[in-house]
Each structure stands twice: as C-alpha cells, then as structure tokens.
Symmetry: C2
Subunit: 144 residues, 2 copies
C-alpha cells in the first residue's frame, strides 16, 4: 500500500467513525504516511516542529492513540523506554524489526517462514493469536 493510499484509508475510516478533521491530526497522518517505519511520539513532535509545523505533544499522543484504536497504526516496542508507531498494512501484510546494536538503526524485514512458524505455533498451543511482534537485536548489514 502506497503512502497516499494509506492516508486516504485513514481519512475514510475516521470520517466513517463520525470524526472531524483538525490540524494536528492531519499533520501527524501526513508525516506517518511518508515515514513508513516506527517513529516515537517525541520524534514525531520534533520532526513536525523542525518542519515548521509545531504540534502540541498531547495532540500527537492523542492522534496516535486514536489511530491505534482503529487499527491504522501498529505499536512497535523496541525495548528502550519508548513506544514507536508505524502505519499498518491492511493487506495482512506486515513486517518486523531488527535493532542494530551498533548504529541503533531500525531495519524492517518480513519473512513468510516466520509467519508460518507462528501460525503452526498457534495451533500447537491451542491459543488464538491476534497479533505478534518479532524483535531481533544484532548487527545490520552495514555494521555487521
């Protein structure tokens, strides 16, 4: 799903829910649409300010919470004390992350074998899995 499609999808869902548009929300959505990978609320706030579109921190958090409730963004926990967010891929398509222990960068990847292993695991355990996260720590290609 392209960035612009995601943004349209978000607007459709929110308007369907009877919500109105507003500046802060538009700014956060626009930013997330272009930045596909895991940003924290503070990073979003800083980036918006840097772009000359300062936005209240509370609004950023509220927008992210709203988007998460509607399944429009995913929360990504990297294990530092911050929650990161990224737009979700409605096609059931999704990715996971590798945190490079040297440069600190977040690298996204996907792997059908991994997804398959999780499906089989769900059957074996006899539990229902709504969502899952896989976090790898190691050295990325440039650092390794």
């Amino acid at each position: 799903m392209a960035a612009s499609d995601w943004s349209e999808h978000v607007h459709a869902v929110l308007s369907e829910a009877g919500l109105k548009r507003g500046g802060a929300r538009e700014r956060v959505i626009e930013l997330l649409a272009r930045e596909p990978c895991a940003l924290s609320a503070v990073e979003i706030e800083d980036e918006l300010r840097a772009r000359g579109r300062p936005t209240g921190r509370a609004s950023v958090y509220r927008v992210l919470e709203l988007l998460a409730e509607h399944g429009l963004v995913e929360r990504v926990a990297v294990g530092d004390g911050q929650t990161r967010f990224e737009r979700s891929q409605p096609g059931g398509d999704h990715h996971h992350h590798l945190v490079c222990e040297q440069c600190g960068r977040l690298v996204a990847f996907d792997d059908p074998g991994l997804e398959h292993a999780i499906d089989r695991l769900s059957e074996r355990l006899g539990v229902t899995i709504d969502s899952h996260d896989v976090l790898l720590r190691g050295a990325c290609r440039s650092c390794g």
Copy 2:
C-alpha cells in the same frame, strides 16, 4: 536449570567480577530465582516489601541493570510502559511470551520451529542476530 543452580551461577559470576554481596542484591536474586517469569522492577519492589523485606527502588533497578549486564537476566518488553526481567537460561534454552488480552497474564512457551525459522531468516538477510524476542498477543487457553 533449577532455581538454586541459577542463584549459584549468579553468585559465581558476580564474585568472579570482584563484586561484594549485599542485602538488596541477595533479596532480588532470591526472588528472581523462585519467580521464573518476567517481573518488573516495581513488582519486585512490591513483592519484597510484601514479604517483609523492603528494598529501595533504586537498588532494585541497579541490581537488575547489573544482572542484565552480566547476561544473568533477560529484559522482556511487553509493550506496556514497563520493562520486565526474568532469569536467563544459560543452556541457550529460552522461551517467549504470550500476553493474554483478556486476563493480562503472561504465558511462557518455547517452540523449536520458531527458533529454526529465525535462524534461517538470519542467513537469508545476511545479518548477525545476537538475540531475539517474540511477543504474541491473544487469548490464553483459559480465556480463549
């Protein structure tokens, strides 16, 4: 590895590192030795106080940090704003967690298929993976 073995192992490593024993550290280690699954610093502090062995919060954090540095505990991030800790299994043996969205409980499991999928993934991506975490969200057996 049994609880008492872990505790001995911890003492051996720390004494090897030239560290001295102290009350707070002993209390945290003893608790972790008996509780094999993911406790947060605050939970540890509360539990110790409940057992009539109150321990300063800062000490709990310092002990956990120390144990983590020596690879004696693993950090487990469940995505609520807290870091949890559990003793690590030196046999290379380790487990992952399912967070039940209904009762909030943490269920541990392990799965060779999953570990295998991650090994193959590491080769495919051409990266070095030092460690990994898998977090499932869903309904546990009692709730599902």
